[in-house]
Amino acid sequence: MSIHIHNISKSFGSFNALKNVDLEVKTGELVALLGPSGSGKTTLLRIIAGLEFADEGAGSIEFHGSDVTNRTAYERKAGFVFQNYALFNHMTVAENIAFGLRVMKRPERPSREDIDRSVTELLRRIALEGYGNRYPTQLSGGQRQRVALARALAVGPQVLLLDEPFGALDAKVRKTLRKWLRQFHDETRVTTLFVTHDQDEAFELADRVVILHEGHIQQVGSPAQLRENPENEFVADFLDSVMI
């Protein structure tokens, strides 16, 4: 599913987090939102998910051609993976993953057996078979991260949004999970956006990288394009400084 963001602005009080942002993400793409902290990347991701609403005005957001600007998060059902995972600590891993299926309206809700089957299948895909009865607090950071991802994927979202997905993990786990996510994306081809402040991560994983600074999109392009043709001083500077 494609995402079309047109002229979105967002202010918190007198602070302008986003200013006239335009962005198009094609179906099946893996896109990174890259920028220093405070650049507005998480705000943009939350606006796409419907967890935050853009300032009233000209802006609009379309999911696959249909306008979702005024839809709530609950209606948009974009898969969202939170920075600190936001797992339900009072539920087991299996219950966490099944949550999205269990809250469906009765006519759409799969049967108990089907839910169990999907949960088992997802546990297998995140390499956590046999962990279904554990609680999130009994898992390592990398395992929680995968559970959060499985929970988001269980409802079969057409967009996957990840906020600093590897931010809280140590370097080694981060590398492994990165590879795993890329592979996972190649298999499923779910349109994916992820926020990061780590240039390596963005360049290694993404098809295209969006560079944000002070609420403005500075440049959008493939890793190669960005490296070879930085459009402005900030992009050149930012990429350079992180490269060292």
């Binding site: 998060a73 609950y74 059902k77 969202f80 939170f82 009072h90 949550f99 929970r151 409802v155």
Partner: protein, 284 residues
Amino acid sequence: MAAIILHQHRSRPRKATSESPFSRWLIIGIAVVFMALMFVLPLVVIFQEAFRKGWEGYMEAFDDRATTHAIWLTLQVAAITVPLNTLFGLAAAWCVSRFQFRGKRLLTALIELPLWVSPVIAGMVYVLLFGAQGLFGPSLKEHSIKIIFALPGIVLSTIFVTFTFVARVLAPQMEAQGQAEEEAAMTLGANGWQMFWRVTLPKIKWGLLYGIILCNARSMGEFGAVSVVSGHIRNKTNTVPLHIEVLYNEYQFVPAFAVASVLALLALVTLILKTLTTTPRGAA
């Protein structure tokens, strides 16, 4: 040499903030004596007086229509007040912890109002509003609705006094927990109701229970506010605390203390439940 090493081994390193043994024992001693005099001794006295004429004398105190009626009335008041204030408290805590709005600080202050306003004033306000000479007095009389000197008045003033407990416990807790889990539930397609029952409530249940226990204890024990609106009509509007005062003023010491011991027991049970609900248990 060996002695020096031994000495070093024995004396624990003193933290910069720790007191000398003397002042430590002095402070603990004062606290213990104070607690014994102010809390434990009165409790002992209550039970001692209540059992002055033995177990039978104690039980006799409850074999009295006015007493059983007072207990029944108090249970009724609590049964109405506690659920309502649980709802109000949840709503207020939700409001304060989840939304930014103008007047939020005023609302936060209002939640604590019952703690710094004398309960007598709480009672007086309702008399001025709903009493015979009050603002709504005439129209209430016209429709023959009785609020003051009746159950509604007692409930109203008890609600006023005990409103604060659930909200005060929950608001800081909900603020600290943040709402990432609620947001996660929303992106997974849960509606507001499902979000509350499946995600929010399990997170706050211990705090909520704690608030409810405190609210219940206070609603059964409230004297001042209820005293103003109830009119002290025996067998009609006397709650347990008011009834104890009546018994005491009539020099019926054993019954007075016997009934008082019930409230004291309630306090002890509350204390135990409070400890149970606040001890960290799988803090997850």
